[in-house]
Symmetry: C2
Subunit: 131 residues, 2 copies
DNA sequence: GTTGACGTTTACGTTAACGTCAAGGAGCAG
DNA sequence: CTGCTCCTTGACGTTAACGTAAACGTCAAC
């Protein structure tokens, strides 16, 4: 198992964010790095969570939503009601994500069409070039 | 061709946003409804653009980015340099969208796995139910 | 032993994307 | 004419997600 550790600056650099952003995520309870004295010490689990957070942000989720999502992952459910609720939440998230993927596919299709028209237009211009 | 028109409240209702949001999009130059006297009159082209805007928002784009995207669609290029630039921009957007789709697919896969574990756990609990 | 490079907390500033009044005009029902 | 409903334009408020600056600790290097 990988037991390397990182400082906040190293973490920030690896993910191309600022240390301030990382601290912000900690304030919101999205990550909980070890403390050695007063300093933060980041382990691999923290890296995994940070990756999850940033993926969520790229997908347009708010940090609050991301909090509920990442908390889904490490929930020690135990109880049957909790499990049912979790499965329910998974369905909700899945629906959202599939909606977004549909949006993406549609946009990509339109971009393709737009590019076709551009290339056609370009071909016409090449046919009768101006000085 | 569909030449119906709508008021701002109707538009807002159709897309489940507020009139204020629609006005905001107009302030930023994302839509330009007709004016009849002082009132706005929305045509089908405005509906199309509003749909584009909201799709962009669902995908996590800022209104500024959306502005450059929607302006790509109705650009009357004319010049060859403009066309090349446009094609370039399309490539940029496509790369972003494909990154996001990858994010989505990965997240969906992880949700699937999580759900499997939940159901397995549930099955265990059902095997030895508590009162 | 002090200089620098890093870390910390506290706290106020900034930007985007609207929300939320306030004050008023336009048209129509009674 | 009155009242109602829907529209308009300001203009200030709010929230999220950090940015930025201040003031201070700490540890290795010189």
């Amino acid at each position: 198992m990988d037991d390397s550790t990182w400082t906040i600056a190293e973490m920030a650099a690896q993910f191309s964010v600022t240390p301030r952003a990382v601290r912000h995520y900690e304030e919101l309870g999205l990550i909980a790095p070890e403390r050695r004295g007063t300093s933060r010490v980041f382990h691999n689990r923290d890296r995994v969570r940070l990756a999850l957070i940033l993926r969520g942000r790229r997908l347009g989720f708010s940090l609050d939503e991301i909090a509920t999502i990442v908390n889904m992952y490490d929930a020690e459910p135990g109880e049957s009601g909790q499990l049912a609720y979790l499965i329910d939440q998974i369905a909700v998230r899945r629906a959202e994500l599939e909606q977004r993927r549909a949006d993406i596919d549609q946009t990509l299709a339109e971009l393709d069409e737009l590019e076709q028209r551009c290339r056609a237009e370009l071909a016409v211009l090449e046919g009768s070039p101006a000085p």
